[in-house]
Each structure stands twice: as structure tokens, then as C-alpha cells.
Symmetry: C5
Subunit: 319 residues, 5 copies
Amino acid sequence: MIVTEKDSWLGMIFAVHGTTMESIWPRMAVVFFWSVLITTSAFLFPDHAYTLTMAPFTVVGLALAIFLGFRNTASYDRYWEGRKLWGCMVNVCRSFTMQINTLIDDTVGENNPQPSDEVQQQRLHMVRLVICHIHALRHRLRETDPAADLEEQLPGDQQLHHDLAQDNVPAAIADRISRQINSAWRSGRLDAYHVPLLHSCLTEMMGIQGGCERIKSTPIPFTYSVLTHRTVFLYCMALPCGLHDTVGMLTPLVVTLVAYFFLGLDAVGDEIEQPFMLDDNDLPLLQLTTMIERNVLQLSGRPDEELPEPIQPVDHILI
Amino acid sequence: MIVTEKDSWLGMIFAVHGTTMESIWPRMAVVFFWSVLITTSAFLFPDHAYTLTMAPFTVVGLALAIFLGFRNTASYDRYWEGRKLWGCMVNVCRSFTMQINTLIDDTVGENNPQPSDEVQQQRLHMVRLVICHIHALRHRLRETDPAADLEEQLPGDQQLHHDLAQDNVPAAIADRISRQINSAWRSGRLDAYHVPLLHSCLTEMMGIQGGCERIKSTPIPFTYSVLTHRTVFLYCMALPCGLHDTVGMLTPLVVTLVAYFFLGLDAVGDEIEQPFMLDDNDLPLLQLTTMIERNVLQLSGRPDEELPEPIQPVDHILI
Amino acid sequence: MIVTEKDSWLGMIFAVHGTTMESIWPRMAVVFFWSVLITTSAFLFPDHAYTLTMAPFTVVGLALAIFLGFRNTASYDRYWEGRKLWGCMVNVCRSFTMQINTLIDDTVGENNPQPSDEVQQQRLHMVRLVICHIHALRHRLRETDPAADLEEQLPGDQQLHHDLAQDNVPAAIADRISRQINSAWRSGRLDAYHVPLLHSCLTEMMGIQGGCERIKSTPIPFTYSVLTHRTVFLYCMALPCGLHDTVGMLTPLVVTLVAYFFLGLDAVGDEIEQPFMLDDNDLPLLQLTTMIERNVLQLSGRPDEELPEPIQPVDHILI
Amino acid sequence: MIVTEKDSWLGMIFAVHGTTMESIWPRMAVVFFWSVLITTSAFLFPDHAYTLTMAPFTVVGLALAIFLGFRNTASYDRYWEGRKLWGCMVNVCRSFTMQINTLIDDTVGENNPQPSDEVQQQRLHMVRLVICHIHALRHRLRETDPAADLEEQLPGDQQLHHDLAQDNVPAAIADRISRQINSAWRSGRLDAYHVPLLHSCLTEMMGIQGGCERIKSTPIPFTYSVLTHRTVFLYCMALPCGLHDTVGMLTPLVVTLVAYFFLGLDAVGDEIEQPFMLDDNDLPLLQLTTMIERNVLQLSGRPDEELPEPIQPVDHILI
Amino acid sequence: MIVTEKDSWLGMIFAVHGTTMESIWPRMAVVFFWSVLITTSAFLFPDHAYTLTMAPFTVVGLALAIFLGFRNTASYDRYWEGRKLWGCMVNVCRSFTMQINTLIDDTVGENNPQPSDEVQQQRLHMVRLVICHIHALRHRLRETDPAADLEEQLPGDQQLHHDLAQDNVPAAIADRISRQINSAWRSGRLDAYHVPLLHSCLTEMMGIQGGCERIKSTPIPFTYSVLTHRTVFLYCMALPCGLHDTVGMLTPLVVTLVAYFFLGLDAVGDEIEQPFMLDDNDLPLLQLTTMIERNVLQLSGRPDEELPEPIQPVDHILI
């Protein structure tokens, strides 16, 4: 995610980094040279110069704009839903930690000013499993290897190797949390009435995981992307034939500006369609997971030196 | 669903497979030959050539674009809702499996490191019923016969024959899960407080089933589809009359390009309106159900050789 | 609801039945004769023929298209929400039936392979009350008399007469279900922990009822409909004055085609605004309620001869 | 809310009452006389008559139409959300009444064919508090005095005076319902497991109240309304300068018709932005609250003579 | 938030304060002087004056309008979601207060007309923690220091210093509420069945907090803002080249008016994108938190002199 001051209106006019300029300039160059070619040949051989007039471009341009608008809305909805899911993850991790730290205790329903070491260890273990879940989910969404991060949370854990071998590592971690809830209840540390409360947190975590996997695995239907790309391309290539008789030698300039807008709109939709990757405008999953880790460890009363450093933007980019 | 690399912008421009090209080329051909006819006759008999001018086409073209945009949004919402429902199915099956494997045990609320064989069998039976439910739902949505898949899960099951004869096979399977929950509770293997937890999973599974059936059984109102198809058709057929006096002999080319865009937008909406079938852009239900089956069996600790193979795309198509 | 094959693209072009053609042809005829009048008089008295040019029509046509798009979206949302509500009704009735058939038993939390006749009667009575509720709701939404359908479900029931006299028959039926839940609990047939589970089903049924009543009783604000109708009418009547100088004698044809599109869009919105009535494109409530009745009776193990016949489309129309 | 037959398409064309005509005719008159002035002076002094041509009006008209569409969508969403909230209020009041009438009884979990007078009084008192809540909410939203309506429900109630003095009367009433639930539980008339059920109804009532207060207290941002009003005004005032050279003496007529549409769209958005007041198109809160009162009293078995008369539309207006 | 009478249509036409005029006038001035320059040079050197004609402006203007509409919708959704979250906060604080004041008592499930001082103190302490949470959240969203407000609520509190040092102060406060619930249950003042009820209120408060933090920390993707700003700017700067040959010396006026609309639309989106700050159109968080504080203290029976004064608008602005 790009972190920058939006106050400077003028600065944004001339920004390059983080805009779509980097990906669309080759296409714009093609359109520019093509329209130079068309305009020049129309100037040299005026008798053979056909014009399409602007009328068909108005009609198609409008339909194209509406369709691009639709595609942008769909892409942005994916982006924003992804952000909402991770926002919910923040909430549920905090709530889960609070519930683990209060509802699980040596005995059920009795005052216990100082929980035993065993209970404290179980609590911390569960919190660390929650942290493992979000790190594993991040790695899954970004297609990287979660082993290092998980081993840092659970050093020397026997079962971790087995979990990492499963199809779905975050689900395997969630299964371990579920077993911890069960063992806490069956060993008399958790009230039977409160099992559904903890399970609803776990279910919500799995629902968030499923939502993220859905966004990742199901892009906008291929046929939409093809129709958009193709029509934008044809439109920009045909535009000089419609403009050269009225605009004259300025045609390449005008065509390139119009192409900038349409190609830009098209590319923006592409860029945020997959919000979990490492593109400039994607969601800062590393920053979010580190923040969650800090939050839940603080809520569990861990000292500051155990907390990871918060992630800072590098060159205005948060990853 | 089409699984392909979206990185190649140029490749998408020239793609044919999985785009709407296959279904709309006959219509485009009709439009092309019709406009050749109109243009030629206007060229041969200029005295009798009427022109409609582009003005009415601009107005109607805009309204048409907005209406096509509305229809595409409605179709895409159906597609995405279908995907969301199956995403929820993934989540609920995983959560359900975790709950079955921890909350059902020989006794209620006591530590039991090694559950008895009977309990383990009941757990596995319930997990297999969950798998049956999703396979039965897939077959129902695709109008195929679920018998083979269900018998593979429940070999030699007596009641299966009776279930397959009911109107709604997935509902019959869900009813069996409901009876299993009941029997677990009444035989002292499940806490009464946790019955609502398991029932809420089951209710959610039935809600997802109902949602899919709703999308399948209720298309976008017929009157919308007729109005769209008819107006697009009339528009493309009338377009040569509006263009030939300004564009001249290029009219057929321009008309065909415009027709490509409008007919394409119209056809895209049609294609994803029913997202559960076997069209190129439809949802990969077989891949999803197989993935769920693998996930829940892994979470139940079944060895790898019992798991089905994950479905791979064939010729870039996941079914 | 119109049930037809959508595969035939050409067939839809020439369909009449179930399209809005039946309701808008008088308006189209008025527009046609009016534009013949205008065009002819402009032809006979060219000195007095004013033209408005197309410029104002472009501007207003666009705004009109956007506004019609807004209204269609609002109408379609009502239609789809109505369908969603009935889809939820399907789900909740199935879940409710399963819960009634397992959670209510002679004793609480004990194995009971063969429930007593009394319990079986209470279960069936409750399921029949659920069926009564949906039939009563259908009759309420369609403003017909529910007495016959309810008496068929509850023959010889004493209280039915009293229920039918209340303002809101479905609510009176729901009240009876609520009393049955209460009596089952107080007579020791239902666990106190499971009362909220059954009540949540009932609450959801009432929520669906309320949602349907809301859609029925609150149309799109009158002022919107008036503004739409009036502007479409004025637009079509003024259109010949804008076209006759460029399009000439083809004006009536062009105007009628444009009018078809705008009047059609306007009429489509009207038709599905009230989705519970008996228009061609309305929701098939009779088919849905019959399907629910079949489903819940099958889930309760009733023999096939007790089930009502499923409703089949008559002349491509499901009611 | 305007209650009228929508069947008469022609009748709606000529309707005046309940359309925005009443509020916008002064603005239309200003626009008309202004355009007469412009047109006449352009006719008298053709040498000094500037024309702006229609080109800028096309561009701005479109952007304006899209922006008006956005604003209408936002207004309508507010209206429909308000209606949804009151629809939920209907549901929750009915469900709450059913639960009060069954779950609260002399003893917990035992059969009790005839509840004692005290219990019956407490039930009726709670139902009357529910009715008080909705009346108090209606008065709060319409900024009227709730005292009379509340005293009618609770004659001679001591605490009512204190409640009416609080900042938020409906919240004070809800607090009393909460205390009644508590007292029922603590006096052994309500099962502890069912307290959350009743509390969830109460929470939902408060959620509805909060939603209505939110809609009332937060209009669409001022800056939006200003931008809309101002641009519509400037657009209509400048329009004659763009039209007079092509349309000639018909300019005032055309301008007024265009102004009708844009001013009408603008005014419609204004009118339903605040849906709880007494404008013609606002929600019929009095009818809704009276209907709820009738419903819940009937469900509590009160005789017909105790029920209030249903509210009928006066001159096609329901308030 | 701007609090003003919307009745005066004419007043809004001439409003300056609270509209975007303050932020966009420099840009409008640039556009104005630039178009004076272009127009004058075209007038002085007509032979070298190129015109772009209006055709490309129509196409791009439309696409731009649709894109601005998309961006405004996204911004407004953020604004309205922020408002909804705070509206939910109002509801949940009221419900939470009612539940704290009834469900926590000296003993569980017994009548207790006069709660002990200790219980009353614990109740008030919990209510004050709820108030602290909303104040801390407001300060966090506005990036101000919460210490003063929190110390006013909890004078002499030992732990406050520690809470204020945490990364996330509102989460630290919520953790304290969670511990209070736990202590109430474990000391026999709260029924185990009602713990989930209180926890669900707390979870909702944390969910609202997370939602607000999400809106604050994730603006609309940078690339969107750049594309909008840049295209609006280029469009306005190029517009004189398209208009000067038809509109002549009025070009600067027309361009400035068109620029007002596009720059205004662009700036409106910017202004409400971050709804929690202190801009004129932002949400009145101080007024909302003060209102919640008054409400919950009144519901807890505190005397009027303990309540804070309600916040009044200053110069039509609520903060």
C-alpha cells in the first residue's frame, strides 16, 4: 500500500511511482506511433484518407466507459472486501485473546487471583497458535513458505512439521486451536457454556480465511478481462482514423491523452483485482499481521522486548 | 473456470478460447453481411438511400449501454454470490469437522486421551455424511446423478437407497446428520449445550444449499433478457443506415466492431448468469468439492492414500 | 415466472408473450400516430416547421437513461430481495422440521428408539403449522383467502376459525407454533437449552414474513414513478420535432423504435416492482410453497401419497 | 406515503399532488422568464447575441446526470433503510410479544395451564412497554411530544414522568423493559437460559432505534447538496445561451422542459432524504405504529374493543 | 458536520462556507488564467490557432464523469460506513449499560431490591470503562491525546498509566472490561449463562473499533486518486483548445464553470474520504461521544449535574 500525503494536490499530478504509468507506457507508446503513422499517411495521401468520423467513437466510448466503470467497481469491491476481512481478523484476534486470558483458568467459576503456571502456559500457547494462524494465512495468500515464521512462534514444537505438510496449513493450525479449546474444557479449565463463545471466534477466523482464499482463487471471469482489454485496444487503435480530419496534426497528442485515460482505467482494475500480492497498491499484510502479533502479545501481558518491531513503510510502500 | 496467466496483456488481446467469440460469431456474421448489403445498395442507388443520421443512435446507444451495464452487474452478482456460497461451504465444512472431532466423545466434559472405536466410527461417519452433502449438492446443481459418488463415501449403506429416492437428496443427507447429532447427544457423547453449535453449522449448510438452489431456479426475469437481446439486435441492424453516408465503404467494418462490443457484452451476461453449469467461465464445483473432501479428511487424520486426487485444470479449464 | 429455454437467442428476438409488449403497445401506437402527424405536417408546411434539433434530446436522453437505470435497479432489488426471502423460507422450514423431529421427544437427553404416539402427533402438528404459516403468507401477499388451504392441513381444528379472524393470519399461526414450543418444553419433551434454537427458527420465519409485507406495502415512492412516466412520455412525444428535419419520412419508424426501448424499460420496472402478484414475471409462490410442503412432509417420513403434487408450468408460466 | 393505484399509466402523467411539482414550480418559473429574456434579446440584438453552442452542455449534462443519479441512489437508500428498520421493528415486536407470553410464567419449566393474575399483569405490562417504545420512537423522529400516547398506554404510571424527562425517551422505556426481564428472571418466572433470548429482542429494538436516529441526525453531506443545487441552477440558467441559435423562439419551452427534469430529479432526492417526517412521500410511521399496537395486543389475546382503529389514508396520503 | 437548514434552496446556491469552494478556488484561478491566455492568443494569431474540436472532450468527459461517480460512491460509502459504525456504537453502549445494570448483582438469580454498594460501584466502574473506550477511540481516530478525558472518568486509577502506554489504548480499555466481566462471574455476581451476552457486546465494541481503524488506515488506493486528479487537470487545461473556435471570447467563462463542476466533484470525494477528522463535512465524533456519555450515565441513574453538557454547533459546525 502506498503511504503518502494526499494533501498535495499538485504533487499527485506529477507522481509517477505507484501510479499505473509504469505498466501502461509501452501500450501508450504503441498507440502514439500508430497514430503518428495514420496521421502522416492521411496528410501525405489525402485522396486515400478515410475518416470514420467521431460518431461511432462517441457511442462505443460511452459503452466502454460504463463497462470499465463496472469492472473497476468489481475490482475495488474485491480489494475492499479483502481489507474488511483482514480488519475483522484484527478484531477477532483481539477478542479471542481477551477471552482466552479470562475464561480459561484453573477452576471454573471461582475466584483465582493468581493462575497456575500451567494455565498461563496454555493461554500463551493458544495465543501463539492464533498468531501462527494469521502468519500462515499471509504466507498462503502470498504463496511464500510459512515455516520460518511458525517455528519462531512455536520453537521446538513436535507437531509443527506435521502441520506444515498438510494441504492447508492455516486450517491445520485452526484444528490445533480447536483441540486446545476441547482440552481446556475437558480438563475443567473452561466452562461448558463458554465453549461456544470460543468456538465462534475460531469459526470467524476460519470464515475470514475462506473469504481470502475465495478472493485469491477466483478472479473476475476471464471473459470480462478479455472483452475489456480487447475493446480498449481496438478503440485506441481506431481513434486516429476518427480524429485526423478535424484535429489534424495534433491527432497523435490527443489520441495518446485519451489512450492514457482508458488504458489507465483498465490497468487500475487489473492492479487491485488481486489485493493480497506485493504490488504497490496491494494490502500491507505483513504490517497487519505484525500489528496483530504486537496487539495480542501486549494484551497477554508480554513484556515489550518480546514484541516484534512494527513494520514501517519503505520508500512510501507498506508491504 | 478458466485458469490462465493474466500477465500477458497482449496474449489476452488475441485469445479466442473462453471468450464469448465462440457463441457470438454467427450473429456478427449476420450483422456484417447485412451491413454490406445496405452499404452496397446505398452506393448503387444513392437517390433512394435514406440516412438516419447518428443522432438517434447516440441517444439509444447510451441508454442501451446503461441497461447492459445493469444486466451485467446483475449477472455478475449472481456469479459472485454463487462463489461466496461455495466459499462459505468450505468454511462451514472445516469448522463442522473440527467440532465433530472434538465435541463428540465417549463421555461429556471429561478427559479422554483415546476415544473408543465406536466414537471414532461415529465421527468418521458424520464427516462422510458432510462430504456426501456437498457432492449431492453439486450433482443437484449440475443435474447429474449423485448415486456413484455417494456410494463411494458410504459403501453398503442401507438407507442410501431411500435417500436417493427423495425429491431433494442433499436435504435428506442433512436430515441424517441432524439425526446423528441427536443420537450423539441422547447417548451421552455430546453436551446438551453444544447441540446448538453443531445445529448452527448444519443450518448454515442448508442455507448455502438453499441459496444455490435459488440462484439456479430463478434466472434474471425473462422480460429483461428479451428487452436486451432485442434492442441490441435492432440497434446493430439499424446502425448501417446511420453510418453509410459519413463512413462510406468502411461501414461494414465499423458496424461489425461496434456489434462485437454490444453483442459481446450481451453474451457475457448470459454466460455467467447460471454459474453452476459446465460452461468455460462457470464455477469449478468439482474442484471445490474435491478440495473440501481432502481438507475434512485430512483434518480427521485420515492417511493420504484415502484422499482423492486434487482436480487439475484440463486445457486451462477447471470444472 | 416464465420458464423457457434461454438457449434460443433468435427465439427471444421474436417472443411476445411474457415481454412487456402486451402492456406498452397502446402507448407505442399513440407515439407512432403522433409522429406521423408531426412529420406529415412538417412535410406539408415546411415554412412553419420548427425543429428542436437533437441536442436537447441527447442531454435529456442521457439523464433519462441514468434515471431509468436507477429505477430498474431499485425494482430488480425488490424482486431479488423477495426471492431471497422465499429462499430463506425454504431453508428455515427444512431446518425447523429437522429440529422438531429430533429435539422433541418423550424425555430429554435420553435414548428413545421409538417415540410415543403423542410425541409423533405433536411433531406432525407442528410441521403442519409450519406449512400453514407459509400458505397463509402466500395468500396474504396475493390477497386471496387462506381458509381452504389451512383447513386442509388442520382438519377439524377448533382454533383455526379464531386465527382466521385475526388481522394477520400468518402471525396468528406463528403464535401457535410458539405455544407448541412452550408446551413441549414445559411438559419435559424439549430441553430448556434448545428452546432458543427453535425460537430462532420461528423468529426467522417472522422476519421473512415481515420482509415480504414490507416489499408489498411500500412501493417505490410515487414521486419517482410519476417523474419517470412523465419524462418518458414527454420525451417520446417531442422526439419527432427533433428528428424530422434530418431523418425525414422515416421519422415515425425511428421514433417508434426509440419509444419501444424507453417505454419498455419503464414498463419492465413497473412489472417486477411488485414481485408477489400473478403477473407473468412474478415469483412462483404457489410452486415454492408446494415444494416446501413436499420437502418438510418427506423429511417427516410421511408416505408419498400424502404429499401434494408439484406445480408444473402451464403454458411456460409458473404461478 | 401516497397510496394510489399505479395501474393508470395515463393518470400518472397528469398527476400533480404528491409529485415534486409543488415545490419546484417557482424555480421553473424563474428559468422560464429568464430564458424568455435571453431569447428575446438574442432576437432583438442578433449582432450581440453570443452562443455557447450545445457542446459544453452535453459534457456537463452527462456528468450532472451521473451525479444526480448518485445522489438519488443515496437518498433512496436512506428511505429504504428507514423502511427496512421499521419493518424489522414490526417483526421484533411480534416475536418479543410471543416470547413474553410463553416464556414468562409462574414457575420455570413446568406445565401451568392457567397463569396467575400477577404473571398476566406482568406480561401485559411488558407488552405495553414495547408499544410505548415504538410510539416514543415515532414521536422522537417526528419531533413531537410523546406524553399523551405514553400515558394512554400506562395510565397512572408513577415512573413515566421521570422517563419523559430523560434525553432519550425510547431508551428510557427500553431500560424499563430490561428491568422487567431482570425481575422476571430473579423472581423465578423466567429461565436463566432464556434471558439472552429476550435480551436479544431488546437489543434489536435498540439497534433499530439507533439506526433511525442515525438517518435522522446525519443528512447527506452539505457539500453534496450545495454542489448539486448550484450546478443544476447554473446549468438551467445557461441553457438558453446554448440553445437560442438553433432552436429559436421555442427556446423557453425546451429549456423549461429540460429544467423540469433536472430540477425534479434534484427535488425528489431532497424530499425522501429525510423519510421520517410528514411530507407526502415520507414513511407512514403513524400507520405502522398503530398496526404494531394492534398486532401485539391481538397476539396477547386482548379483545377487539381495546385495539386502536387502523389508520386509513386521508386524501390518498398515509401518515 | 455542517448543521444548517436545508429548506432554503436559494440560500444553498450562494453558500460558500462548508462547500468545497475554499479548497478549489486556486485551481479554478489557474484554469481561468490559462484559458484567458489560450483564447487571447487564438484571437491574436488566428492562423496558428489549432482547435481540437469538442468530440474528444465529449468521449473523455463522459468516461471521466463515470469514473468520478465511482470515486464519489466509494468515498461516500466510507463516510456512511463510518457513521453506521458510530451509530452501532451508540446502540451497543446503551444495551451494554442496561445489561450491566441488571445482570450483575450481589447474587445470581435471586431477588435483591437494593444492591450493595460494592455492586453499585462495580457497575458504575464498568460503565465508566465503556465511556473511556469511546473517548479513547475518538482520540485515536483524530490522533489526539486521550489522557485528559480518561483521567476525568477514572480519577486516581492506578492502571490507567499502564493502559495509556500501550500501542492501542481502546483495546487496552476493552481488555479491562473483559476482566471485569470475568471477575463478576467468578465472584458469583453474574450468571455463567450471561457471560456470553456481555461478551457479545464487548466483541461488537471491538468490531466497531476495528472498522473505524480500517477506514482510517486504508484510504482509496493511491493510484485511483492520481488518475482522477490528473485526468481532471488535463481535461480542464485542454478544454479551451476545444472551445475557443465556437464559443469565442466567452471561452474562459465556460471553461471555468465546467472546471468548477469537475474540480468540485473531485474535491468532494477527497473531503469525505477520511470522515473522522475535523474538516467541515466530517462526522461529529465529539458530539456523538458526549451524547453516548450522557445517555449511559442517565441510564445508570446518575444525577444531572454529573452529566457533561451536550455539544452544540459552533458557527453551524458540529465537531
